[in-house]
Amino acid sequence: MSVRISLDGVDKAFTSRRTGERQQIFRDFSLTLAPDELVAVVGGSGTGKTTLMHLIAGLERPDAGTVSTGGGRPRLGMVFQQPRLLDWTSVETNVRLAATAAGVDPAEVAPILDAVGLTDYARSYPSVLSGGQRQRVAVARAFVVRPEVLLLDEPFSALDELTARRLRLLLQQLWLRTPRTGLLVTHNALEAAFLADRVVVLGGRPAEVVGEYRIDRPRPRSPEDPDLFDVHRRIVAALT
C-alpha cells in the first residue's frame, strides 16, 4: 500500500524548560510526500527536522493544522537520531521484536543483520557495540518491518564512510525492490542528492522551505554521477 503523507497548515511550538521561552518551530507549515516518494530534508541544526519527523510518526501533535498519513496508521520503520535500543537484550532480539510486532517472519532477521554487517554480533548485547554498530542495529530494525513509511533521522551520520556508503546502496536497493514513502533527514547534501526523489531545504525560525530540488535521475544511481554533484552544489548554496 502506498501512503501519501501531508502536513497542512501545521503550527508547532515548544516552551523551553530552562528559560520558559516559547519557540515557534513551525507556523502554517505545509509539506506533502507523494506515495512512494523519498524526500530528503536538509537544514541547519535546531531548525525542526527531527520535530517534523516526530509529527509524522505521531510522537508529537501539531498545535494547529493537520498531519495525515493516508487515513490509517501505516507501518513505520524509523531510525531515531539516537539508536534507542533495548540494552538488556541481544542485537538479534532487538530486531526480532520489531519484526514480530509487525507480523514479519522472524526468519527475515538474519539476512537483514547480514546486510548491515552485524551477523557476528547477533547474540551480543548492544552495549558492547560501537556507536556506528548500534546505529546499524537501528537501521536493521527499521528495514526488517517491511515499512510502508520509512523515517530516517541522520541514519548514517555516525558511520564510517565505507559502511555509510554500503548502507546508502542498501537503502537504494530497498527502493528499487519496493518503493515506499520515506523521509530522510541528513546533513550530507550529497547523500540527499544520491538517494532522494526530492530534496527540501529547511531554514529559519519558524522553519520554512527555503529551497526545493527535484532529482529526476532513474535508479539505480551511482554515487559518482556528475549530475548529482551539480544538485549538491545548489543545495549547499541554498543552505548558506
Binding site: A57, G58, L59, R75, L76, M78, F80, Q82, R84, L86, D87, W88, T89, T93, L97, A98, T100, A101, A102, Y125, S127, V128, R141, V145
Partner: protein, 284 residues
C-alpha cells in the same frame, strides 16, 4: 524517597570472573574470589561469638548463657523437629503475605509511576503505611482478624507493600521515554512492553524494594506470632521468654537469622545477578 542500592548491586557490576578488576585492586580469579568473598562476614561472626562467650564467662549470670547452652538448645529444637515445623509455618506466612504485597505493589507502583494524579492520590496511603510502626500493624491485625491465616498474611502484606510500592513507582519513572516512543512506533504489544521495556528498567528498584519489604515482613511476622498465634518462630520465642530460658530465645533467634541470610544470599542475590547480567557484560 531515594534508596541507594545495597552492596549486592555493586558486587554484581564490578565483581565476577570476566569483568576487569577496577584499578588499584588485584584481579580476582573466579574460584578463589568465590571462596574468599564471605571471609570478612565470617570473621565478624567469629569475633562477635568470641566476645559473647567472654562476656558470658566473666559475668557468670544466668541471663547471659554461654555459646554451649545456646548450641544445646539449637540442637534440641532441631532434633525434636520443632525448628523445621515452626520455620515452615512462619515462612509460609511470609511468602503468602509477600506475594500478595508484590502483586498489589507492582500494580500500584506502575500506576503511580505513570500517572501524576494517581501518584498524588496514593502517596499519602503509602507514606502512612511506611510511617506506621510494625507493632501497630501487628496489633490491629490481631484484633481484627484473630487467629485465622488471614491475620499474619495481611500483616506481612501491609508491612512489605509501602516500601515495594514506592520503589516500583520510582523504577517506572526511570523508564526511558525514548524507549517508550520506540515501542510505540514499532507497535509493541502490552506484554512485549512489560517484558522488554518496563521490567528491565524497574528491576534494580524492584530488588531494593523487595529487600526492604522482606526486612519489614520478618519484623512484623514475629510480632503477630507473639501476640496472636499459637505456632511459628515468634510464638516459640515468646514461649522461651515466658520460661525465662534466655538460651532458648537466642537459639531461635540464631536459627531465624540463618534462614534470613539463606534467603538473602541464596535467593535474592542469585535472582538479581541473573536479572542484571547484561550490565556486567557491558563493562567488558
Amino acid at each position: 524517597m531515594t534508596v541507594t542500592h545495597p552492596a549486592g548491586v555493586e558486587e554484581v557490576v564490578l565483581g565476577g570472573g570476566r569483568s576487569p578488576a577496577p584499578p588499584g585492586r588485584p584481579p580476582a580469579t573466579g574460584v578463589v574470589a568465590r571462596l574468599t568473598r564471605p571471609l570478612p562476614a565470617l570473621l565478624l561472626v567469629g569475633l562477635l561469638a568470641a566476645g559473647w562467650q567472654l562476656m558470658a564467662h566473666t559475668s557468670g549470670s544466668a541471663l547471659i548463657p554461654g555459646l554451649g547452652a545456646v548450641a544445646r538448645n539449637l540442637a534440641d529444637i532441631t532434633t525434636s523437629g520443632a525448628l523445621a515445623e515452626n520455620v515452615r509455618v512462619t515462612l509460609t506466612r511470609v511468602v503468602l503475605g509477600f506475594a500478595a504485597a508484590f502483586v498489589v505493589s507492582v500494580a500500584a507502583g506502575i500506576a503511580m509511576g505513570r500517572s501524576e494524579w494517581l501518584r498524588r492520590f496514593l502517596e499519602p496511603a503509602v507514606l502512612i503505611g511506611l510511617a506506621t510502626p510494625g507493632l501497630v500493624k501487628a496489633l490491629l491485625c490481631v484484633i481484627w482478624f484473630g487467629v485465622s491465616l488471614l491475620n499474619p498474611v495481611l500483616t506481612v502484606a501491609l508491612a512489605a507493600a509501602p516500601a515495594l510500592t514506592i520503589n516500583v513507582a520510582q523504577g517506572v519513572r526511570s523508564v526511558d521515554p525514548a524507549l517508550s516512543e520506540m515501542a510505540h512506533v514499532y507497535r509493541f504489544d502490552a506484554l512485549t512492553r512489560l517484558r522488554y521495556v518496563w521490567l528491565p528498567a524497574i528491576v534494580p528498584d524492584l530488588f531494593t524494594g523487595a529487600r526492604l519489604g522482606i526486612a519489614m515482613a520478618w519484623k512484623v511476622i514475629v510480632l503477630v506470632e507473639i501476640f496472636g498465634l499459637a505456632d511459628g518462630v515468634g510464638y516459640q520465642l515468646n514461649l522461651e521468654f515466658s520460661q525465662h530460658n534466655v538460651a532458648g530465645v537466642l537459639a531461635w533467634t540464631v536459627a531465624f537469622a540463618l534462614v534470613m541470610a539463606a534467603i538473602e544470599y541464596g535467593l535474592l542475590q542469585t535472582l538479581e545477578r541473573r536479572a542484571v547480567r547484561w550490565r556486567r557484560v557491558a563493562l567488558r
